[in-house]
Symmetry: C2
Subunit: 230 residues, 2 copies
Amino acid sequence: MESSQLQHTNRQYEEELRGLRAALLKMGGLVERQIAEAIEALVARDSEHARQVIGRDVEVNRMDIEGDECCIRLLARYQPAASDLRFITTGLKITTDLERIGDNAVNICERAIELNEEPQLKPYIDIPRMAQLARSMVRDSLDAFMRYDTDLAEQVIARDDEVDQLNRLIYGELLTYMAQNPSTVPRATKILFVSKYLERIADHATNIAEMVVFLVKGRTIKHLDRGHGR
Amino acid sequence: MESSQLQHTNRQYEEELRGLRAALLKMGGLVERQIAEAIEALVARDSEHARQVIGRDVEVNRMDIEGDECCIRLLARYQPAASDLRFITTGLKITTDLERIGDNAVNICERAIELNEEPQLKPYIDIPRMAQLARSMVRDSLDAFMRYDTDLAEQVIARDDEVDQLNRLIYGELLTYMAQNPSTVPRATKILFVSKYLERIADHATNIAEMVVFLVKGRTIKHLDRGHGR
């Protein structure tokens, strides 16, 4: 009887753990979509689309709370040990990063709506590339977490340098615009912010990737030999 | 015998829980000091001081890792239930906010060093005020956490609006500078970033305060009726 109860509990536990994985992947998918659509709205100068993305942030926030509750329930009911404990506590931290990535997508939309009040400064070339990179980092960092894949996590960490380079490139270009034509200053600073939001999204993905390496290798690559963004 | 063992365990548990509280307060104290000194270095145009603050970030990072390990050890050894479980899982999330506040102090120092390569644009008035506010928010959010003080937490959340107002004020002023004199653009954008780092520090403190309210009242003021910074 006891043994069958234990098995029942184990099955329940495995199921809830799978539920947590699914919830995190779903949340990751949603924030990825938020980034993509924020940039689509920016490039197409579509304020209505931007407002839709902003409106959808409540879903991201709901998933953040549900993800945390799922983690806390697992800890409370099953008192998992060792590697599962570390997986779940890492999950608790990852929800925060995903939620803030969602906030940055909202920030992009807010700037996009403001930018639509003036004529377009220039076509966007590097911003969509940067967004593409940042999105791939979000997806891969989460996949690395699910699969305990440190190689993929290290790739994400390496890709952060590319994002920083693009951010510097965009910064330099916008400085030139502003210096040559002061009337572009309000628009250029808003685009500068968009570039920084994307850089911050990449930082969050890098943080997730660092947690994965820490989780698997149990050592502290977190914070070592790494910059702090710009 | 069993009961005395249990008491022994309880004593150990209480001690480790106190250890966690002390570790978080110490980490909070250090990041507060990092913010203060970053602004001191900026205002005094003291690159050497700025580099010292940057160097001290390894301590913040070490405390982040130790704080997490302390939380995970408590969860693994004592399987705390209910309110303690929520306190510890919130602690796990707070270390991340404190660590990123430390990163923002480093970012301020990096911009301070760059700004020292050119003559001073203008005396700093609003930036130190904003830093003062942001620091008080960090301290109070952590005190609110330790004391389960939702009134104090709500005050922190309210103070975030003041920081956002100061940020907008600084933004407007710097836009004027850049528009009137394009040669100020590189310096002005760096000061703009400093203002944004402070705003982000205040956001992290607000996040901590929201977690405290959530922890105590168990309801979702997190994410409701709140903006996403700028």
